[in-house]
Structure formats: C-alpha cells, structure tokens
Symmetry: C2
Subunit: 303 residues, 2 copies
Amino acid sequence: MTMTSSAVRDYLTGLQDRIVDTISAIDGKPFIRDEWQRPENMGGGGGVSRLLEDGNVFERAGVGFSHVKGTQLPPSASAHRPEIAGRPWEAMGVSLVFHPRNPYVPTVHMNVRFFIALDEKAGDVCWFGGGMDLTPYYPFDEDCAHFHRVNRDALAPFGPDWYPKYKKWCDEYFFLKHRGEPRGIGGVFFDDLSEPGFDQSFAMQRAVGDAFLPAYVPIVERRKDTPHGERERDFQAYRRGRYVEFNLVWDRGTLFGLQSGGRAESILMSLPPVVKWRYDWKPEAGSPEAKLYETLLPHREWV
Amino acid sequence: MTMTSSAVRDYLTGLQDRIVDTISAIDGKPFIRDEWQRPENMGGGGGVSRLLEDGNVFERAGVGFSHVKGTQLPPSASAHRPEIAGRPWEAMGVSLVFHPRNPYVPTVHMNVRFFIALDEKAGDVCWFGGGMDLTPYYPFDEDCAHFHRVNRDALAPFGPDWYPKYKKWCDEYFFLKHRGEPRGIGGVFFDDLSEPGFDQSFAMQRAVGDAFLPAYVPIVERRKDTPHGERERDFQAYRRGRYVEFNLVWDRGTLFGLQSGGRAESILMSLPPVVKWRYDWKPEAGSPEAKLYETLLPHREWV
C-alpha cells in the first residue's frame, strides 16, 4: 500500500466510525461489527460491515468499509483508460444506506470510493468517486433544499461548477429507466475524478464524506417523531420496492459486486427490511402520496 | 400471423384462461383482467395480464399472456443463429408466478413461450421454450417428488431423455450464483426447441403447459390449511427475498423485458407481495427452516 492509499484508507475508516457513532447515538442501539476477508484466490483484501437492525429510529442501517485488491484490472474498469488495462489494482470505499422506521424520514445513501491501478515504472493511476442521494416518502421541500444546500456548500470551495455538474450526474444515475421515474430527489454523484490532481480530488472526496452527517441528521431529528399510522407505513413499504428495483436492476456497483463474487450479505445491506409490491398501484389524486410523484420526484433545482 | 403461430396463440390464451379459472375457484376470489398494447414504434402487439391480490389462498398470483412483434431480431436473440439476425419477429408466451399466503404452500413459476423469425422467401424459423419450477419454504419430500413426477410423465411420451435433460437445465438456470444457492427444488426448463420439428415441439410445449395444474394444484390442496404462525410467515417473507434477487439480478426474461422497454407492471407481477431482508441470517440448527437448506435445496433426483 502506498502513502497515498494509506491516507485515503485512514480517512475512510475514520468516516465509517464517525457515522456509526453518530447514528448509533441518535438511535439508542449499537451497530454490530462484522469483519470479513476476501479469498486470496480472488485477490485478497476484506472489509468491515457495521449494521443496525430493528433499531428505534432505523429499521435497517448498514455502513460498509471495504478494501479489495486484484492482480489484473478487469476490462470493464478500464474501458476508457486502455493504457492501464491488466494492471494490479486496489479499490476501497465506504458505502451506506439507512432505512428509517418513520415514513416521514427519508431513506439515504452515501458512497465514497477510491481506485488505484498500480505500476511501479509508469507510476500509479488513481481516481475518486462518490456521492449521496435522498429518497423521501413524504414531501417536505425544506428537507430536500437542506440536503442539496449542504452538498452545494461542501463543493463550493473547489469552484462553482462542481455542484451543478454532480447534481445533474446524480439525477441521471439514480433513475429507474423501466418506470421512467427518479429514485428520489437526488443529491450529488461523481466518478473518475482525477483531473484536478490527487490532493484536490482527495479533498473533494473528504468534503462530500464530511457533508453526509450535516446533510442528513437534521432531517432525521426533525421528522423521526412525526405521528403516523398503517397508511404511511404501507406507502413506505411500497416505495421501498422501487429502491430494490433500482439497486438490483440498475446499480452498477451492486451488479458488479454480485456478478464478480463479492460478499452478498455486505452488498445487499442496502436492501430495505420490509418491502411490498402490488400491481399497478396509483396514489389517490390530491393525496400526500400523489404529491410525492407530482412535485418531488420530477427533477428540480433545489438550491 | 401464420397458421402455425395462430395455433400456438390459441393454445396459450386457452391455457391462461384454464389456469385462471382453476386457481380462482380454489381461492374464491376472481382475477382482475388488464389488457395492454405495446407502442407501435416499439413493434406493436400487446397482452393480457390477469392478477389476483390479497386472496384467500394466494397473496399474489399473476398470469400474463403477451404477443409482441418487432421489425428486426436483436443480436442477443440470434447469437447462435446468425442466419436469422435482423429478420422481423414475433414472440408470444404465458408466464405465471403464484405467491401463496400459507408458508406451507410453495411458490410456483411456469412459462411457455414461442418465438418466430419471419422470412417469406427462406421460410420462417421458429422455436419453443418453457418450463416450471417449485420454490418451497418448508420441506415436504412428497410434494417435490409429485411435482417432478408429473413433469417427467408429461415428457415421457416423447422419449426418456427429455425429462433428465430439462431437469438438469432447470437446476442450472434457477441458481443464485451470488449466494451459491438454488432458487428452489427445480422442475423442468427448456429453450431453443425446434429440432424435433414444429409438430413435436409444439406438442411438447403443450405437454408442459397442460402439466402445470396437475403438478401444482394437489400440493396447494394438501397444504393450504396447514396451521401456522408468525414464525413461518416471517421465514416465508425472508425466503421471498431470494426470489426477488433471482428475478431482478439473474432472470434473463425479466432483465431483457425491463431493459428493452417492456411493461414494468406486467413483468414485475412475479415479485412477492411482502418481502423481508435481514443481515446474514441463518436458521437454527435442527429447525424445519434449516432442513430446507440442508435436505431440500441441494440438487437431488426427485423421481
């Protein structure tokens, strides 16, 4: 492991700890800790899965750290960088999905990742990726605006163009093509970030990682005790079906992980605890559920 | 539409009606009927979705008929038949998945399909595909043996080799590679059937389609009133997660449908009504739930 990748690794494991500690304090229930190794014949490495299930505030919350290695970069990972095909590589990241119990608290996803193609002679090539996005069940414009504002402010020190670019990328990525429907209200998404150089790219990754708690926690605090009944829980379970559909049909990270022999239980920590499907269901006109589809899901400028 | 494809269509729509009538009589609740058209700019055609939700015996049961057309056979459909690439085509089929309420009744899937690549000069090329497979929650050897026996007997008039061949194909196809786990206890699966000629191939498809009710209904009748509690319902919801994972990650028909602009609600009729995920769950040693993993799921010769 090089100096640079060890600095990234330290940041990522520290981020996982900070998030787990904060969310656990809000919930009142501790996360379990599950350490796992990747078989040596697959390249080695491993990870730490942290999980909270059946909590007071979170019905299922997973925060995974993984650091895996390989001897030959697969063609899919180097399609637009042919010069690095076949090199030894390392990938590390923190990925989380939180499914709250109260339907007025949105589901959230965050991921920060770092990829390095090793070459002692020609020099290592590395890049960053990441982002976060919010999936509300009931529409509160101020929550969406807050989430986007924190993301915009986190990227602002690096220039005014990053947030609009990454906001658009997020809208495009988290989209269920088979339903013509966004997964939620977006946030930011980026990949292949190397052009500003290692130091700035790493600083941008840290800015996004550090923005997660301030972007999400105030929304949780504001909504977690909102009274609700079976109707709201039922709508939440129905909408969670869309989350499953996106992750299993369209999410590149999930599919790559499952198809390449990744650890299924760690990858599928993102799936909701209880999900419902029913045929061709439409919300009643004028209902809060209809408002989600009509006013919140269509792509909007939130800040 | 040619004479041959109209005969297949008549068989398929009749099969859909027979199955719907029988299952509806068992359940006591009627199926809804939803007719849909495929946009002309996608090639045209359409289908009829029949659905029973929140029934007495079935929590969700969908039987779809579709007949869709295209002007140019996609390369994926003609990979091992290069001579027919780019021809106009028609595809029709009946596909069903039944999710019973009682956890002692297995989930079942059946599909029969017919594909035709049109060419007035060189002559049409057509083939059949299909099969059925059973996914129990609680292990009853006699149910599995019955299901396989009916399938074996249905194919026996065409020779002794078809059942073992299609049984093996089914075991290989309905397998969750990311978990190293079969979806259920199999049945039969076939595709690209044209070699015995149209008449015998069509007869074999009818034999499989006609075998569905005798293979499944006796199991439903035997188990549908078995007393059960929260424990069994919970295990059923957990195991249904595997069904979702298979259909959305591995099933070629589902993925092709969703990625090529098929009607999402009709394709996703196969998903269970209520599903649960939890982290790295293992059944207690010696429990009936453990017995499913230990004695039923590993590939076996049932007849």
